[in-house]
């Protein structure tokens, strides 16, 4: 419980004073329990860095990012270099023409009933303010587990979302396919290399 030291409060008038953390002592196994604040790590990696590996997939000149969880669950996102960001996001739909992917339903541990997608199968359609429509590819072969329906209501979420929160869908590849899938995608390094080359190629043209 934080205690308010009136003296300090009056002199410094620190508005946070009532909210400072104070560790309560407890002895377990004959030792004082270390305060939870000891677990602070200045170089603590982000959620994405802790659990995911970034891979990239290029379709029609636009790059997509795949967040590959250590348990093989994959999130399909836009790569930071995707042109839609510059053009301005207008709308997102999972109704890709012949089928509405937001109607995907999975049952049980095995995610029965999930749509089976191929790497270049369209997962969603993204319209930009510039009038372009991007077919968001599934990026890998796998079963569709979930789509991010929040993007339908609020497509601008893509522009302000933290890394990963702008995912279009969650896919579950087969265990046996994981190695070949990873080999078919660009690694972070390869992706950065590609961006650099693209930029240098752009220069002579302009």
């Amino acid at each position: 419980m934080a205690t308010i030291d009136t003296q300090t409060f009056l002199t410094t008038a620190d508005p946070l004073e009532p909210y400072y953390f104070q560790h309560e002592e407890q002895k377990i196994c004959g030792e004082f329990v270390k305060p939870i604040t000891d677990n602070y790590d200045e170089n603590y990696p982000s959620v994405v860095d802790r659990f995911f590996t970034r891979y990239y997939y290029i379709k029609a000149g636009a790059a997509y990012q795949l967040l590959y969880h250590s348990n093989r669950i994959c999130l399909v996102c836009l790569a930071p270099s995707h042109p839609a960001y510059a053009e301005g996001i207008e709308s997102v739909t999972f109704d890709v023409g012949n089928v509405d992917r937001s109607q995907n339903v999975v049952k049980g541990k095995a995610k029965k009933g999930g749509m089976i997608l191929q790497a270049d199968t369209t997962l969603a359609l993204l319209k930009t303010s510039a009038g372009n429509t991007y077919k968001i590819p599934s990026c890998i072969r796998g079963k569709l587990v979930e789509v991010n329906t929040a993007l339908i209501e609020d497509p601008k979420l893509l522009e302000r979302a933290a890394e990963g929160a702008g995912y279009f869908g969650i896919l579950l590849p087969k265990i046996d396919n994981c190695d070949s899938i990873k080999a078919s995608l660009l690694s972070q390094e390869q992706y950065e290399e590609r961006i650099k080359n693209d930029k240098s190629e752009d220069k002579p043209a302009t």
Binding site: V47, L75, V145
Partner: protein
């Protein structure tokens, strides 16, 4: 049919006194003083020869009862008690015992044969659906149980040490072979389906009654009345199974690198030890020689990297076949100290609990409240506004999708969960750090509640303050279950 005629006939068929009483439908205590019971029922029987009078000559074959095959003889009782005493019986401290007999099928066949015999002798006064005797299984309870209990100085207790006694008889194989033939002749339709196990005790009990089977057919395969035998029943084996003992307590966990149960991936251990193993290792051997059979249960569980502090989490060990059913305060304290010596897990309130109380741990899991403390980090130093938003005393509901970290092995669901309260504090030296206390419904994923997991948990603490927030560390600080009761083993020992 007069009782006297019945007894005289049974006597002539070589039926022992105890079984004669069975055919008089004697109950419980009536087997204790048999002479008196015979008198009361107005039956004359020759006085029992006492063994003191003369050393009995070599037994004639008529000495073995044709219906119980010696099961109720004094000889057999002695054999049984000797057999029990020769087993590991003394290793068990259970004050209660229960006998479980595995009787050969010949006993049932002989009972049926005698049933037919009585019908042919006394006609319609012997019912075709209800057996004329007290069934041997029941008689065992009425006669042998009290005798064995008295001799061993134990109480009868259905949940006590179970003594499994398997009996055999030399005629079993031949008679059952006959029975299989009889079965084919008597019930050809059903016999076709009985491929693997040709005949079972249950079937024998259900189907084999004079109302469903003709005496003439039975006689073609087996004699009526049952024929005299040369051997009595033999003790095939005695196996002991101790009672189920339950030991409960609360555990606390100090390590962020210790799993709840053994963590094995593709046959390889990820972590050397686990809470379950540490507790069983230090508590189990007192009760059991087979610690691998012990089941560890707790009121929920925490992740590998989460500490469990405060009063700790209730747990219980279910110990089958327990040798020892007692636990003194001194012994409990020694176990608590041994676990504490690991420096990673601590247990207290260790005590024996009745099995019925295990429901406390198993039921109402969703209703329990859990108290957590989370260390969270913001991208910018905390402001007064952020801190104020994170003081929530009213409960609110969240929708939580199955976290991605377990989604590969669990179904996708969106679960409503109630958060009962939130209280945030800021670290003076580093105002980007928040220490947030959360009271939530059991089953809430707290890490996801903090950062929101890409919007899959909504609202989240991060969405409430409208900016990213991550979780660095988590402690369980309380579990809302007042069970097992507080016992201070250390104070009791002093």
């Amino acid at each position: 049919m007069k009782n006297q005629e019945l007894i005289d006939y049974l006597e002539s068929c070589g039926v022992c006194r105890v079984c004669q009483l069975r055919y008089l439908k004697a109950r419980g205590s009536e087997y204790r003083d048999m002479q008196k019971t015979f008198q009361r029922l107005d039956v004359q029987v020759a006085a029992e020869e006492t063994a003191d009078n003369e050393i009995p000559a070599k037994k004639s074959r008529l000495d073995i009862c044709t219906t119980c095959l010696g099961l109720f003889s004094k000889d057999f009782q002695q054999q049984l008690i000797d057999g029990i005493l020769r087993s590991d019986y003394a290793k068990y401290d259970s004050p209660g015992i229960v006998l479980a007999f595995n009787l050969p099928m010949v006993l049932q066949l002989r009972q049926l044969s005698m049933w037919f015999a009585l019908q042919s002798k006394f006609g319609a006064s012997v019912d075709s659906n209800f057996a004329p005797d007290v069934p041997i299984k029941e008689a065992v309870k009425l006669i042998l149980h009290p005798i064995v209990c008295t001799q061993l100085g134990k109480e009868y207790d259905a949940n006590g040490l179970m003594i499994n006694i398997e009996l055999r008889h030399s005629t079993e194989a031949d008679d059952v072979a006959q029975l299989v033939q009889l079965n084919k002749a008597a019930f050809p339709a059903q016999a076709k389906h009985q491929k693997r196990i040709e005949i079972s005790r249950g079937l024998l009990e259900k189907q084999y009654q004079p109302s469903r089977l003709k005496a003439e057919l039975f006689k073609k395969f087996l004699p009526i009345p049952p024929s005299p035998v040369n051997d009595s029943l033999e003790l095939q084996s005695i196996q002991l199974c101790g009672p189920l003992v339950c030991v409960a307590g609360r555990y606390r966990k100090l390590s962020r690198e210790l799993s709840h149960t053994p963590w094995v991936l593709n046959g390889k251990r990820i972590m050397e030890d686990s809470i379950e193993e540490i507790i069983i290792r230090n508590v189990g051997s007192h009760f059991s020689e087979t610690p691998e059979k012990i089941t560890f249960m707790s009121s929920g569980r925490e992740d590998v990297d989460v500490r469990c502090l405060g009063k700790g989490r209730p747990f219980v060990l279910e110990i089958p076949n327990a040798r020892c059913g007692s636990l003194t305060r001194t012994q409990a304290l020694a176990m608590e100290q041994a676990v504490d010596a690991t420096g990673t897990v601590s247990i207290h309130n260790l005590q024996l609990v009745p099995r019925e109380e295990l429901t406390h741990i198993k039921t109402g899991e969703e209703q329990k409240r859990k108290y957590y403390r989370a260390l969270c980090v913001l991208e910018q130093p905390a402001t007064l506004e952020i801190l104020q938003k994170l003081q929530i005393s009213e409960s609110f509901d969240i929708q939580q999708k199955t976290p991605i970290r377990v989604l590969h092995r669990r179904p996708l669901h969106t679960r409503p969960r109630t958060i009962f309260g939130v209280k945030a504090r800021v670290q003076r030296e580093n105002p980007r750090l928040l220490v947030i206390d959360v009271v939530s419904q059991a089953g809430t994923y707290i890490k996801e509640l903090v950062h929101g997991e890409f919007g899959r948990t909504a609202p989240s603490l991060s969405s409430i303050i409208g900016q990213p927030m991550d979780i660095l560390a988590l402690d369980v600080v309380g579990i809302d279950l007042d069970w097992p009761s507080d016992v201070n083993n250390a104070a009791a020992v002093e």
